[in-house]
Each structure stands twice: as C-alpha cells, then as structure tokens.
C-alpha cells in the first residue's frame, strides 16, 4: 500500500451518524495515529474496540495491554520509536497513568491521551459525566509540568479537535489530552468528515531529525532550550529509537537540557523544570484556542468548556431574548489556562458565571485573572455539579439571581 492509499483508508469521507467515542477514534486515525495501547474501562471502551478494528486496516497496531500503566508505557515506547501514538482511558485508569505521564512530560514526548471522564472519586459512577479530572490532568503526577488539554463539546468537534490535539502535541512536543466525558462519549451525532486531501492539509507531521554539523556523535540536541528570560524556546525534533542519531543514553532522570545527561546541580535541574513549564505557560496566547459568542456588548460573561458549554449557549440565547446582555467565552483548550483571553473579557464585563461539572476547578483559575484594569475585583459565580449536566434553566436562574 502506498501513502495515498493509506491516507484514503484512514479518512472515512462522508456524512456519518457516529458515537462520540468512535468519532474521536476516527479523528485520531485521520490525524496519523498508528499505535494505540489501552485497557477496557467504561465509558471509553468503544475507543479501543473501534481502534482494534480500524488500525490494522491502515497498517497500524492495536494493543490491549495488561493495565493502564503498561498502556501508557507502550505508547511512550512507540512514540520514541517514531510513531504517532495514543491511549484512552477514564478517571481511575488515568490515575494509574500518572507516573509515566510525568516521565513523558520530562522527556517532552508528543503523546495523546483521551480521558473520557466518569464520576469519581473511587470507582464512582461509571455512566455519568463529570469534569472532575481537570486538575488531575496536570497536577496528578510527581513534579511540576504544564500540559495541553482540549475539551470538545460535540461529536463533530471530537473528530476535528482530535486532529488538533495531535498537531499541538507535535508542535509543542508535550503530552496533549482530549477531555471527553461519559455523556459526550456515548452521544450520537452527525459528523461530517472531509476529503483526505483536506485532512492532509490540516495534519502537522512529525518533524524529521536533521543532525547538526558540529554535533558530537551520540549526543544529539533532543531537548528544548530556552533563552535566559524564558521568552524564546527552541523546540527540536528528536531522532527516533532505531536510528543512528539516537542518543547513546536517553535517561528518565532530571537532565541538563543542553547535554541531555544526568545532573545533580541545582541550577541545571531548576533550568530544566522552568523550561518544560514555561514552554507551555508563557506561550499560552499562541497555544490556547477560545471561542467568543456575543462578548462585544456583554455585561455578564459565561466562561465555560466541554459539555456544559452547550447548555450555556442555550442559556445565552434565552437571556438575550429577555434583554440581559450575556456573552460566552468558551475555552476550547482548558490547559494552558487562556490567561490573555480571560483578562480581556474580565476588563469589559461586570460579572462572570462559570458553569462547571466539578466544584470550581477552573473557576479557581479564572478568579486569578478576574480584575478590571483599575484593580477592582469581579465576582466569579460558580454553577457547580459533579455528576449532572447543567440545564440551560439553571444557568439562566443564576444569571437572574446575580443581576438583582
């Protein structure tokens, strides 16, 4: 099979009625994912099921591993060998993956993990949605690191944003997460999949490693190097395992970003941690994707992400009919937190409402930026549930309550 044929097979052009989990799997295959390792867990089991059927058709490999720890380890192994690879899981499995995700962040591996969230803590409720893992995604592992997380709100977006997740992972060399939930994963909607040529234009391929002229053998530049103030970052491609340029020794310990070797020098370890964190957080404006709805004249802003943004849209329409000036800022990328966009909105509005399917994990972040230019604090109201999707009415009621 040549490349064109594989591309044609990987993109199921047409209009389909797809389940959320299946749409996400199709998006990942279209994005070029050729290795999947996972472990069954409700409510994401449709993803491995679909991958098992589809991946061999496009020359990829599907592995059902012994647990989530092994799944994510195999994904890192496949990525370092040069394949685009992913895993998917739900809350309890995601907790098991943290150890390896922390490692993947240290060595800047462009992997993708989908978390189809279910209610926790513990085994929780397997079929109910939540956004309880939002903080776990970047604060679950040991050490500190910044990640990219995308929160789609429809089956079409699960397809489109899966491609975007792979692109962001490749572009920034960082583990990227797709934040789905039990309801979104099991919902069926119309999904339009474009022509293979158009998908091809959207895909960011894995950059090829080109050795530098003055490079010492066995010591390629594999890590991001930042300038002194951490404002510019040189993110290099890495040579895959099995190629002649692969470093002699690629370690899991904290390393020097320049030599790639073990370090116990405090300033070098400090630099490594700053680089991998600031690479994402200081480039927040370039990375984050937001959608703005009727924010120009808004007095109240709803800041939301994921499934609740659908309820928020309905609520906004109803409020506008009543004459209440409501706008929406939808965070398509939850992490890194879209600081610039939130500050911009906060400057204009009087109050902020945050409907979330957790007890305010992102609201806490928004509070950090909810100030007018003169320093006056803007109230951030939470509409929180942990296992229920908000009805538009609830959000409308909250807005009515706060304007009185």
């Amino acid at each position: 099979m040549n490349e064109d044929e594989i591309l044609k097979r990987s993109v199921l052009t047409g209009t389909h009625l797809l389940e959320g989990n299946v749409a996400m799997a199709e998006g990942c295959i279209a994005a070029g994912c050729r290795f999947f390792a996972g472990y069954p867990i409700t409510p994401q089991s449709e993803v491995p099921e679909h991958m098992a059927k589809r991946l061999p058709e496009v020359g990829g490999v599907f592995m059902q591993m012994e647990d989530e720890i092994a799944s994510i380890s195999a994904v890192v192994g496949a990525t370092i060998t040069g394949k685009k690879a992913m895993s998917s899981t739900s809350g309890p499995g995601f907790a098991l993956m943290q150890e390896t995700l922390s490692w993947a962040n240290l060595i800047e591996m462009p992997i993708v993990v989908a978390n189809v969230q279910r209610v926790g803590p513990g085994s929780g409720v397997v079929s109910l949605p939540t956004h309880g893992d939002v903080t776990q995604i970047k604060r679950g592992g040991n050490g500190e690191y910044e990640v990219i997380a995308i929160a789609p709100n429809s089956c079409q977006e699960l397809f489109d944003l899966s491609i975007e997740a792979f692109n962001l992972a490749e572009k920034w060399r960082v583990p990227t997460f797709i934040l789905s939930d039990a309801w979104l994963g099991h919902m069926r909607e119309k999904v339009v999949i474009p022509e293979p040529e158009e998908i091809k234009k959207r895909i960011v391929p894995r950059p090829e490693y080109i050795p530098k002229e003055n490079e010492t053998e066995g010591r390629p530049q594999i890590y991001t190097i930042a300038n002194k103030d951490f404002t510019e970052f040189n993110i290099p491609a890495f040579p895959p395992l099995g190629s002649k340029n692969f470093p002699y020794w690629w370690i899991t310990l904290t390393h020097s970003q320049i030599s790639g070797m073990i370090t116990e020098t405090p300033s070098v370890a400090d630099n490594t941690n700053m680089t991998i964190n600031y690479k994402i957080s200081k480039n927040e404006a370039k990375i984050s994707i937001v959608k703005r709805y009727e924010l120009d004249d808004a007095e109240i802003a709803i800041i939301t992400y994921g499934t609740p943004s659908r309820s928020a849209l309905e609520a906004m329409k109803a409020c506008r009919k009543e004459g209440i000036k409501v706008g929406i800022l939808r965070l398509v990328t939850v992490w890194p937190i879209a600081e610039t966009a939130i500050r911009e909105v906060a400057e204009k509005v009087k109050q902020i409402v945050v409907p979330e399917m957790n007890l305010g994990q992102i609201a806490e972040q928004i509070e950090r930026f909810a100030f007018h230019t003169d320093g006056q604090r803007i109230p951030v109201h939470r509409v929180s549930h942990t296992a229920i999707l908000h009805t538009p009415k609830e959000i409308i009621d909250k807005i009515r309550e706060i304007i009185q």
Binding site: M1, R34, F35, A37, P56, E57, G59, V61, M63, M65, E66, D67, I69, A70, S71, S73, A74, V75, V76, G77, A78, T79, I80, T81, G82, K83, A85, E99, T100, W103, T216, E217, G218, R219, P240, L241, G242, S243, K244, F246, P247, Y248, W249, W250, I251, T252, L253, M261, I262, E264
Partner: protein, 287 residues
Amino acid sequence: MSYSAPRGKENITPHPYGTNTQMYKLMGFPFTMFCKGCGYGSIAQAICRVFKEENLQEELFPFIINIGCYSSMPTVLPGKILMTLHGRGIAVATGVKMANPKLKPISIHGDGDLLSIGTNHFIHGARRNVDMIVILLNNNIYGMTGGQHAPTTPMGSKTSTTPYRYGEKPIDSVELAKVSGATYIARWNTSTMREFMKSFKKALHHKGFSFIEIVSQCPTQFGNKNALPKALDGFNFIKNNSVRINKAKDMSSEELKGKYIIGEHLDIDRPTLWDRKSEIIEKLKEK
C-alpha cells in the same frame, strides 16, 4: 556524579572491550559506578564482548534500562540506551517493537524491578511472546535503596527490612517465565560467564521472548548483612548453591531447597506477537 576521569588515571589504557562502551565513546575513558566486588561489571563486560564478537548493528539492538543498582550500567554498555521507569521496561519494549519490528529490544532488569513492581508486565510480555530479550540481574536484595528485602532474598536472610530474619518464600523467576510462556529460558551465575555469553548469543538469534537470569553476589548490601562481606564469599556462596540442570533432574525437592538450578531451561519456537499482528495487517492490505 562527576564526568572527569579519576585523578591520575587520565591516561589509563582501557580494557580491550572497554572501548565499546558509552562512557568511553562520550568521554574518552572507561567509567563504572558499581561497588567493589559487584558482579554486574563482569556481566556488562560479557555483553560488550558479545556485541563485539557478533559485530551487531548497535541501533537495531537497543537496551531498555530500568531503575535499580544496574541503572548506572549504561556507562559500561555498548549500543543505544533508553532508560525507563521502575519496572516498566517490558511494556515500553512492547511499544518499541510494535512501532519498529526491525528492532530487538534488550530489557535489563533487577530482581525488585522485574519480580516485584514489574511482574505484571513480565508475565504478559512472556505470554504475548514479544520478540525481545529480558536479562534479570539477580543480586537477591534491593541494593541501591539500602539493602531491603527483595522477592528473591533467600529464606532467613537478614536485610534492612527483615532485621529479625523472618522469611518470605522467594520467587523462582525461571518457573514463572516457563508458566507465563517465554520461549527461551536460561539461568546462570557470576561463575559461569562463558555460558552466559553463549546463552546471550543464542537469545540474540532466537525469535521470541528470551529470558536469562544471572545470579550475582552483592558484597556491599547482601554480603555485609549476611556474613559474606568479601566478593569471593558471595561468589562462592552462589557457586556452591548452584546445581546444573542435568544433575538437578536426579535430585529430590528436599535436596534442591534453596539451590539455584543453572543451565538452559527451555528453547522452543512459537509465533511471536509481531508475527500475529503482521499477519492481520497483510491480510487487510488485500481488501
């Protein structure tokens, strides 16, 4: 950790096989971090010798190194080395093998690494028959963390976490590999390095999950706590407690208690994981 040559030893002539090692290539001098009398140095040398004798294309036989005493082994190993987390080597190697079937990963493990935290991956790697080599460096103790009880520690030994010598039954890795489905199994000790080299060569050409255990002395941690403080004490203790597999056949289970049965335990052929995966991919290509 320092990267300068020890003072006064800058011009030291390296060992004939030392020139093959990572540290020699990077720094221009051989360098090890093992304790005095540790058996791991000779194992690393044996691996270097095999790589040189077989004239292997280094990038096709990557080493997967986990966490343990042997984590500093890359300084004296040839080839390309990917270090992974504690016990996850076989899972990572599965991903590596599936992403590039031309490679044959060699995963090096310690006893705590493979038989305690990574047992799950070991069992399933063997069951799937991933085409790779697993080398278990068994020193009967957690050396790096300060001499705690390991799953292979002999009954009644004194360790940091068994000060009263209570005993848990040690695990027999060869039997575990056998029932899990490994296709090449051997066990050697530090007094049988030539046989280990032969086994390692065989494993390099074997298609399937190869498992080689090598029992090593640990004078610093195991020896000091159990009246075997010198390298030769531990070396002889293991040597005297080892029985060749052909002799063990005629011995009763009572006589074999606490003995290491050394030799080639199994050598069979079975389709590997990639054989099955590629079969499906080829079949679907036709459609």
